[in-house]
Symmetry: C2
Subunit: 171 residues, 2 copies
DNA sequence: ATGAAAAGCGTGACTTAGTCACATACTTAA
DNA sequence: TTAAGTATGTGACTAAGTCACGCTTTTCAT
């Protein structure tokens, strides 16, 4: 019934961009939740990453569903809770984690079963709220340590376990 | 009926701390919203800043109120929307704004009608997700430019308008 | 097919922010 | 009134971000 993902990003005046979170199939997208409730508008921007197949719920219908449809309510609340968790994790990441840990986590999140990550360094930078140059240097540092192997447009993760250690709160 | 404020903070392993948002009188506190919905727990920590007088709503009661009490629902959704806006602003701040702008915004937010801010530099640092030393240096830079006057435990804002300019997206 | 443009990556030099270590001044309470 | 705790200032260093390039690979129009 639903398919495709939406990434919600924030863009600064200087062009720097950070991914706030992603909305996945089966989730309720809350981008306009503020509007539904009190007309608040977000500065964030949603962008489809793939072809989309979604249901759009008009405001009146939304109000009705919340009251009458326990299932909808459940999904809605779950979506809200997930967004909170995502955003809190993001704040923690950006404000309090060093870049090597953030990059390590991103690689682990994004790699497939074969340990392949298909993404440009630019995309990785946006993913972790940093910039290409920093990602480039850090990836090369990882590569020097034998943690990954780099080729244009993707990264092969050689030592997921060691990345995982890095990704954890280094004391 | 309700009084006092709660600050919700995130603390890293290294002891660095950042304020996620505040819950004010009349607002619904969502700290445990995840729990209400699906048992997710937050890593964030709530802390009363003043004496509190609050209503605590048990889970069963919550479910009932959401369905039956339109007013409660309205308040709840408003709280959710506010939190989102807060968190998005915070991410934007931390990830994309230089610290002079962040500090300027914090001072403007926190000052009273006489332009007095009563807070230690340590507290200001937590407020903007930075550290004391950086705040100290930045405040002294502001002072050198005649924007503020510093005394132990508080800051006198002399030129709110110029701070406001600083606080805006410097191109 | 080929040459130009665009996309992706690497890197040096520099700026800004955060860390560490320590000095100094003010405040409070025994 | 002095010792302990709190608040601040500062130099030296590290980490991250910015700026300005250059180089290679891919894409695409002709």
């Amino acid at each position: 019934m639903h398919s495709g993902t939406i990434k919600v990003t924030l863009t600064a005046e200087n062009g720097r961009e950070i991914i706030l979170y992603r909305v996945r199939p089966g989730e309720v997208c809350l981008q306009t939740f503020g509007c539904l409730v009190n007309g608040t508008s977000y500065s964030a921007e949603g962008q489809a990453e793939t072809d989309l197949e979604i249901d759009i719920v008009p405001v009146g219908e939304f109000q009705r569903l919340v009251v009458q449809d326990a299932d909808f309510r459940q999904q809605l609340f779950a979506a809200v809770a997930t967004r909170f968790a995502d955003l809190e994790r993001l704040v923690e990441d950006v404000a309090l984690s060093p870049i090597d840990a953030r990059l390590a986590r991103a690689l682990l999140r994004m790699m497939d079963e074969q340990g392949q990550v298909t993404a440009t360094q630019e995309a990785l930078a946006t993913e972790i709220g940093s910039v290409r140059e920093v990602v480039s240097r850090q990836l090369n540092a990882f590569a020097r340590d034998g943690l990954v192997e780099l080729t244009r447009g993707h990264i092969a993760v050689l030592a997921p376990n060691r990345l995982d250690q890095l990704s954890h709160p280094a004391v």
